[in-house]
Symmetry: C2
Subunit: 138 residues, 2 copies
DNA sequence: AATCGACTCATACTAAAGTACCAAATCTAT
DNA sequence: ATAGATTTGGTACTTTAGTATGAGTCGATT
């Protein structure tokens, strides 16, 4: 919000400055009105593109962010969530065990809990549900 | 591509027209140069936003659309792709068999082929790879 | 100090998933 | 029409996945 205000402030200031500059330039005869128009047009076209890109970029980031509240709401523990992430990447229990430096038994336990909490019968379903709940960063 | 050319053609034409109009308006004294500048600035700012939105929107559609060429490139048959979609939704072999009205054996065969062609060891990995290859509609 | 939740791990199962190989019916394009 | 790909299905087998249960450790809370 602060940023937005700042940007628009600078913008307004720039516009006023530009107007003053243009008046001076036209009066002194150093610049043709047409060229000034072209210059302004290009400048603001670029500005429009820039602003729109910024806002859409932020939108994208928000959309691909994980819903932390949902994770808490589901009762997923830290470790369980880590396992879920590994599951989503397509790793087997053995591989996850190696990545997290624990035994396969431990992973099986975690996976079972994840399945329960995500209301899934298989790991593939758990991943799909997790995706719909937006608790995966991809 | 054709569209792009058309848009830019119309755009160029509009710019030229605007310049002519501005010259006439200024000469006849009906319009102050400053106001003309403001008008042009706002117009092109809006245009920039519009163009950027359009391009990003298309990008989004493309991103969520299925890359048909990739499917062909991978050598995935129609049926195999159908099975892949069911897999991605988290269904078991038995469930997929019921959905597609064939035996579980058949599904196993298809799944094996899908795993080969997607270079995956497990179905979870196949789904993940498929997602990265953008051959899934979600 | 006792409790509770999270994490760890094991054993013993059952249930899916996946592989290998084969074989027949059906489609498709030359 | 016939070769090649696709689809279907089976048997037999190995490997993962998942369940159930119990239990020890550790840190935070009460």
């Amino acid at each position: 919000m602060k940023k937005t205000v700042l940007i628009f402030g600078v913008l307004a200031f720039a516009v006023v400055g530009l107007l003053q500059l243009s008046r001076y330039a036209v009066i002194t005869g150093n610049l043709q009105t047409e060229w000034l128009l072209v210059f302004v047009a290009i400048l603001f076209l670029g500005l429009g593109v820039f602003l729109q890109r910024r806002s859409l970029h932020q939108e994208k980031i928000v959309a691909s962010e994980v819903n932390q509240d949902k994770i808490v709401e589901l009762g997923l523990s830290k470790r369980e969530y880590e396992v879920l992430l590994e599951m989503a990447r397509g790793y087997s229990n053995k591989e996850i065990a190696d990545h997290l430096f624990v035994s396969e038994s431990t992973i099986k336990t975690h996976v079972s809990h994840v399945l329960e909490k995500l209301n899934a019968k298989r790991r593939t379903q758990a991943v799909q549900n997790a995706k719909e709940l937006q608790i995966l960063p991809f």
